[in-house]
């Protein structure tokens, strides 16, 4: 059962009603062809809050500000904060290489100034590390937001072709 359905059901019932019902015990039945069980499940992100651990509180606050400036909520379309991009990037950068970690830490220690992103884009990597950080952060923030459950749900309302579904290959033995 999806989380929302569960919440709806729960809201409709008196709090103790479900506790008073006894579980339904199976009755003996004649043997028949049994199907393999297939259980619905939910992702952890849908039912719990991530615990950021990599950036300092000050850096994380700067990341939240950067995310909100880079991709604010616009009307029905969620922004970077609605899609928990700061928490996700805290996790992603915690697993990234030392270069990337330094780029982010130094970038977040810098006073927020998005002016370098108004310079015309060129293929040359910016010399200024802060400008380089902003370009990387722009990519990461937009990608993490666009691939989030909330963003895909919002876009799917306008364009049902957008589902966020891909073909995943499991480890091959």
């Amino acid at each position: 059962m999806k989380r929302r359905d569960l919440l709806k059901t729960a809201a409709a019932l008196p709090v103790l009603a479900s506790a008073q019902q006894n579980p339904v015990l199976p009755r003996p039945t004649a043997a028949r062809k049994e199907e393999d069980p297939r259980l619905d499940s939910e992702t952890s992100d849908a039912i719990a809050d991530p615990i950021p651990s990599f950036f300092t509180a000050k850096q994380f606050a700067a990341l939240e500000k950067l995310c909100d400036t880079m991709l604010p909520r616009v009307g029905e379309t969620p922004g970077a904060l609605d899609t928990r991009v700061p928490e996700f990037l805290d996790f992603l950068i915690s697993r990234s290489g030392a270069d990337q970690q330094k780029l982010y830490r130094d970038g977040l220690n810098h006073a927020l100034d998005l002016a370098p992103l108004s310079e015309p884009w060129t293929y040359e990597e910016p010399r200024d590390p802060y400008a380089k950080f902003l370009q990387q952060a722009k990519h990461d923030i937009l990608t993490a937001a666009v691939n989030s459950r909330e963003w895909i749900a919002a876009v799917a309302k306008r364009n049902p072709a957008v589902t966020g579904t891909g073909t995943y290959w499991l480890p091959v033995e």
Binding site: L71, L117, W121, T122, L142, I152, G166, L170, P171, V172
Partner: protein, 512 residues
């Protein structure tokens, strides 16, 4: 009791190995096919997933594939694990060695472009004096291209270009989108040839559905996955090869299979690595040399079609047009081709914006994207080479390769010319160029690695003869892209298939 000697052992199951098995088995010859990787079970091994259900939201686990830019979080498990399979390079001159170890090889993931080479490549030395001619000419390979194209259901248009010979194609009669039609008109004004893509069609276009099932149906093919070949063994008395020793991928258990003929189609660089590790077929000393690929300048130009109208989308191909006449006309040898595509939304990086202004811009340019990618010939030079690095071993203890290769001014001049020309063509079409550059991807990234076991008429300067047969060892064939002498700008798989089919015809006609 020991197992019998196999007629033919084929190492590798991709385009080249699959093609050889397809031909030999239908001719009644028993083949044993070894592949270093497992076989996919299409029901068991793949499942639909939402991108937000992936642990890294589609961005992939950082650092998992330092050299495989094609790997994404959905398909990551299809690519060869780089930690289990290391190699070495000069840090200044990286090589991206992109590998797939699965039955079917890279035909499971290839881009499917199918272009013939012409005598501009086969007799390239005669045209501009650089490098060497192939020992064969277009007329030798044409009958095999004719057979391979229908097998791979190649669709496209025949245009009568000298540099891209016409094919035995399924007709592509699809209409061009308005943006593509405008671009084609601009090309014609500038005297630049242009055509539709020529691609293998079908839901899957792989050795595993187009080649191996027909071979298995004959009862003459035995496929053994997870067999990591360490060495091709030789008979000391005759000097001929007599089998292979391999390890079980899961257990590292050592086994040996005997063979009358060995066919190597393990991919360009794995084939050469295997021959080098076996210490065979190298009386010329050129095994491992003449490594080349193709330069790719991805999105050499990114443009906007300002007043794009539905239907959007559509794509096309510009074949080589520099140096196709009698004389060299530019400050570089040989030439390049372009893929181009329209539609979609350009990458946000191109716009010097952020926040709400960026989102408004992206909404405004939806479906207006137009981009071109350069694919250029890389000159085959002896100094670009691989050698065995005894100190760098894979998870099975097999020594891996060291790469020494770098591009030259010829490739750089070509990339710059391709950038300027692409921009001119876009301007002629009335498109707005928002990004351009001439930085090609690192050596190897195109996954068009070629050469290192090249064919040639002279056994002193080549490893194979014109039948993909070792000059030194008559019962040894190497049938993949390692045999190329030059590669043009064309995607190489179609030529690999044609060469493998031709080589296996030759093999079948010998007495062993």
């Amino acid at each position: 009791m020991s197992t019998p000697t196999h007629d033919v052992v084929i190492i590798g199951s991709g385009a080249s190995g699959g093609m050889v098995a397809w031909n030999l088995c239908q001719r009644g010859i028993k083949c044993l096919m070894l592949d270093a990787g497992p076989a996919l079970d299409f029901k068991r091994d793949r499942t639909p997933k939402k991108v937000y259900e992936l642990p890294y939201r589609g961005l992939g686990r950082p650092g998992r594939f330092p050299h495989v830019t094609q790997a994404d979080e959905f398909n990551a498990n299809l690519w060869l694990d780089e930690k289990q399979n290391p190699y070495t390079t000069d840090p200044k001159d990286p090589f991206y060695w992109v590998r797939v170890r699965l039955v079917g090889g890279k035909t499971l993931i290839w881009g499917r472009a199918c272009w013939r080479l012409s005598d501009q490549e086969f007799a390239g030395h005669d045209r501009d004096g650089f490098g060497d001619n192939w020992p064969i000419r277009y007329k030798d390979l044409a009958p095999y291209y004719d057979k391979v194209e229908p097998l791979f259901k190649v669709a496209g248009r025949n245009e009568g270009f000298e540099q891209i010979p016409d094919g035995n194609l399924l007709p592509d009669t699809s209409h061009d989108s308005a943006a593509v039609a405008r671009f084609i008109a601009a090309c014609k004004t500038k005297n630049v040839p242009v055509t539709k893509q020529r691609r293998s069609t079908g839901a899957l276009a792989s050795s595993v559905n187009l080649l191996l099932p027909d071979a298995l149906k004959t009862g003459n093919l035995t496929i053994v996955p997870n067999a990591v070949v360490r060495e091709i063994t030789t008979d000391r008395n005759t000097g001929l090869v007599n089998g292979v020793s391999f390890l079980d991928r899961h257990s590292s258990r050592e086994l040996r299979a005997k063979a009358r003929v060995v066919v190597v189609g393990a991919s360009c660089l794995e084939s050469t690595r295997l021959l080098l590790n076996s210490g065979i077929a190298n009386s010329s000393g050129v095994l491992g040399r003449y490594l080349f690929d193709q330069i790719y300048v991805k999105n050499v130009v990114q443009a906007i079609v300002p007043d794009a109208k539905a239907p959007f989308g559509g794509s096309g191909y510009i074949p080589k047009f520099r140096n196709v006449g009698k004389r060299t006309e530019k400050n570089f040898l040989r030439g390049y081709a372009y893929d181009f595509g329209s539609g979609g939304t350009p990458n946000p990086k191109y716009f010097p914006l952020y926040g709400e202004a960026l989102q408004r811009k992206l909404a405004q340019v939806t479906n207006q994207g137009f981009s071109m990618t350069t694919m250029g010939e890389v000159l085959a030079r002896p100094e670009n080479r691989v050698t065995i690095d005894k100190d760098c071993k894979d998870a099975w203890g097999i020594p891996s390769l060291r790469f020494d290769c770098r591009y030259s001014d010829n490739e750089r001049e070509m990339a710059t010319d391709s950038m300027n020309t692409a921009e001119e063509l876009c301007h002629e079409a009335g498109f707005q160029v928002i990004g351009k550059h001439a930085h090609f991807v690192p050596f190897g990234e195109s996954i068009h690695d070629l050469g290192t076991c090249r064919m040639g008429a002279d056994p002193k300067t080549s490893v194979l003869n014109g039948w993909n047969q070792s000059h030194d060892i008559k019962n040894l064939y190497v049938v993949d892209g390692s045999s190329f002498v030059s590669g043009g700008a064309q995607n190489p798989t179609l030529t690999i298939l044609a060469l493998a089919l031709r080589a296996s015809d030759h093999l079948a006609e010998q007495r062993w």
